[in-house]
Amino acid sequence: MDQNDGLRNDRSSADRSFAREISYPRISKEGSSSNFSTFGSGDENSNEAILNSKEEAMDTSEEPFSPGLTGRELPSAERMVAMMHLSETAPSPTKDITRRLSQLGGGDTARFPGDFADIFLRFDHLGEEQQIQFAQELLLRMNQFQHGEINSYLKPLLKRDFISLLSNLGLHVLAEKILFKLDASSLRAAERVCHDWSRVVAEGQLWRKLIENNVRTDPLWRGIGTRRGWIRNLFRKYPLPQLGDTYYRQLYPIITRDIDTTERNWKLGNFALHKINCRSENSKGVYCLQYDDEKIISGLRDNTIKVWDRNNLQCSQILTGHTGSVLCLQYDERIIVSGSSDSTVRVWDIARGEMLNTLVHHCEAVLHVRFQNGMMVTCSKDRSIAVWDMLSPKDIALRRVLVGHRAAVNVVDFDDKYIVSASGDRTIKVWSTSSCEFVRTLQGHKRGIACLQYKERLIASGSSDNTIRLWDIECGACLRVLEGHEELVRCIRFDNKRIVSGAYDGKIKIWDLQAALNPLSLASSLCVKTLVEHTGRVFRLQFDEFQIVSSSHDDTILIWDFFNNSVVTLPQSAASGRSSTRIDGDNQPMALLAEPLAR
C-alpha cells in the first residue's frame, strides 16, 4: 500500500462521516470500484434506471460542471471550484479532526496482522452502502461495552460546526440563511460562539435584517420606527455605508426598550393627553370617529362631518348635507360613508369633500355602517339590516334585507364569513355573509346591546347591563363576562392584546384580552386601567399600539398617547459626526405637536 492509499484509507474508513463535509470536492475514488468484485450481492441501485456505465461517467465526474453542454456557467460551479481549493489548503475544523483521528489510530492499519491489509483494501473499494452494511456486520459481532466505546469515539466525530464550515468554504450565504432564521436572543448567543460565527452575523447584517423583519410583521415595531425616525435606515436598496453592523446591533435593544416602555405605559396608565374641542354651536357631541396618522374624521351631533388635521389638531374640512346627527361613519382612501338620524346613508369623496351619493332606504335612523371589499352593511333603528353591493361610490345596490331583530339594530360588523348584528332586543345574531341566511343567536346580555366588534372568531359586545361579553362566533358560547363599568357600555374595540371600552359615565376601561380569554384568570385581574377624562358619555373610540382616540357627548375628541416620549439616543454610525446629525436630526416623535394638557 503506497502513501496515497494510506491517506485514502484515513478518509474513507473512520473519517468518512465527517469527510462528507468536504465530500463535494473530495477526489472521486468510486470509479475504480467497478473493477473490483463487490461485497455482497444485489446492487442497491437496481431500482433506479441506470443508463450509463460507471466507467463512462467517470470522465465527467472530476469536472465542476460541463459548461460546454449548456454554454452557460452554473451559478454554483465557480463556488464549487473554490470549495475544492479551500478544502485542500485552508485549515479547517475538518483537518483538525482528521489529525485528531489519526492520532487516535483510526487510520493505523499496520497494527493488525498482515492479511488484514487486504481486508482494508477491499473495504475501501466497497460502495458506501456496503461499507455501512459491513460495519454493521462487525458491530453485531461486538458486545455492549464495545458499542459504548465506539459510541463515545463517534460522538465527537459527528459534531460539525456548520457555520464556520460553510463560512470557510466561501458559502457565507448559506451560513447567513441559517442564522437569519434565529430570533434576537439566539442570534445574540450565536454571535458569541466564536469569531467565525460572529463574522457571519456581522457580514450578513443579520441584526438589520432581524429589525426589518420585525418592522414588516409587527405594527408596534413599524410605529416606533416611524416615530423614532430609524425606519429610514431600513429597507434601503443600497445599505448606508456609514451604518455598519454595530449600528443595528446597538439599535435593537433600544427598540425593545421603547416597546417595553410603551407596554408599561399602557399598564400604568401613563399617557400624554391631547384634546380637540369641537366647539359645536347648537347640539354638542361627537357620535363617531375614525383616525389615521394624518387625520381624524368625526361625525357630530350638529349634523356635520368634521375632518381634523393631526399635526395641529385644527379642523381642516367640514362636510354638510345630513339633516340629522351623524351617528356612524367609515372611510377608506377614497370615500367616507356616513349614516345619520335623518335615515339616510351618504357617500362622500374624501379628497374633495363633495357628496357623491345618498341612499334612502331605512325608514328610521341609520345606527351603524361597515363596508369593505365591495360590500356594505347598514343597520337601523327600524330593526332591519341592509346588505349592499358597492360597485362604485355612485353605484350601490341593495342586495338583501336581514330581518329578525325585535328592536333597533345598534351595530353590525362583518367579514368574508359572517355578518354579526346586535340589538336593543338583548341578542346578537349571526348571518352568513355569502348567502345572507340567518345562522344563530347569541343570548346572555340582560339588557340591550349597544356596541360590538367581531374579528377572527371572537366577538366582544357591550351592553346596557353594564357588562362586556366575549363570544366564540363559531359555537356561540360566551367565553367571559367583564364587569366593572357602572353604566351602559357604549363603545368597544379590541386587538390582539387588549380590549378598550367606553361607557355612559364617561369612563374608558382598558382590559387584558389574553387574560380575559384564559378561563383561569381572576375576574379582578382583567381590568388593567380606568381612564377618566371625558365629562360626558363616551360615544366612540378607536385605538392602536400607541394610542386611544375617543369621542364624547362632552363635545371633545381625546387622544391618549401611551408612546414613550422621552428622548432616546440612537446609536452613532461608524463614521460618526457627519452622518450622526442626520440620524438624530428629526428624531422627534410625530403627532406630538399639540401641547399636552396640564394634568
Partner: protein, 191 residues
C-alpha cells in the same frame, strides 16, 4: 437506501411526458419526469437554454457535485413535492424573508429532515447547488430550530467549537451586552 427504493424512478417505457436524464457525481444516471427535474432551477435553466431541439435525445446532464447517496434523498423530496405542491412560480427572496417566522415546517418535511445534521448539511449544499430554494430553506430552518433556545455554551458543546475569543474580547462582549440590556448606549464607540 430503502426510502429511495420505495419510490423508484419511472420506467423508460411508453409514458407520455418528457424525461430528463441526469448523472450524479459517481456517474449514476437517473431518469426524471420533466416536472420533477424542473423543480431544480439549475436544471430548468439548462433545459431552457437547450431549447426544444435537443429534447428527447440521449444527452445526460451531469450533476457532478451531487453524490448518488444524497441525490436519492433529494429525489424522494422532489417527487413528493412535485405530487403535492401547487404549481408555483419560483419565489422571490423577499417572500422567503416574510415567511421567516410564520412558516412552520410541514410534518412530511420534518420527518424527511429528521436525520443527522451532517446529512441535513449535505442535502442543503446539494439543494443550493441545484437551486431548489424551498428545500434549501427547509434545511436552514431545521438547523435554526436546533440552534434556537440553545445557550452559547450549548452551541459550542453541540458542534465541538472552541471559544477562540481572547479574555479581552470576551470582556468587551460582556460589556456590550451589559449596556445593551441596562443602560443607554454610549456614543460613537466603534470605528
Amino acid at each position: 437506501m430503502s426510502t429511495a427504493a420505495s419510490s423508484s424512478t419511472s420506467e423508460t417505457i411508453a409514458e407520455p411526458g418528457l424525461k430528463i436524464k441526469v448523472s450524479t457525481k459517481e456517474g449514476e444516471v437517473f431518469e426524471l419526469d420533466e416536472k420533477v427535474a424542473k423543480m431544480s432551477q439549475v436544471i430548468r435553466g439548462i433545459l431552457e437554454d437547450l431549447g426544444e431541439q435537443n429534447g428527447g435525445d440521449d444527452s445526460v446532464l451531469p450533476l457532478t457535485q451531487v453524490e448518488t447517496r444524497i441525490f436519492r434523498k433529494i429525489l424522494v423530496w422532489l417527487k413528493y413535492h412535485a405530487g403535492h405542491d401547487k404549481e408555483e412560480a419560483p419565489k422571490a427572496e423577499e417572500d422567503e424573508i416574510i415567511a421567516r417566522f410564520c412558516e412552520e415546517i410541514p410534518e412530511w418535511d420534518q420527518k424527511f429532515l429528521n436525520v443527522d445534521q451532517a446529512v441535513i448539511l449535505e442535502i442543503m449544499l446539494a439543494a443550493d447547488y441545484l437551486d431548489i430554494k424551498k428545500l434549501r430553506g427547509l434545511c436552514c430552518k431545521t438547523v435554526a430550530n436546533i440552534l434556537k433556545t440553545k445557550t452559547v455554551e450549548q452551541i459550542r458543546e453541540m458542534y465541538g467549537i472552541e471559544n477562540d475569543f481572547t479574555p479581552e474580547e470576551e470582556e468587551e462582549i460582556r460589556k456590550q451586552t451589559a449596556w445593551c440590556e441596562d443602560e443607554p448606549p454610549r456614543q460613537g464607540s466603534n470605528h
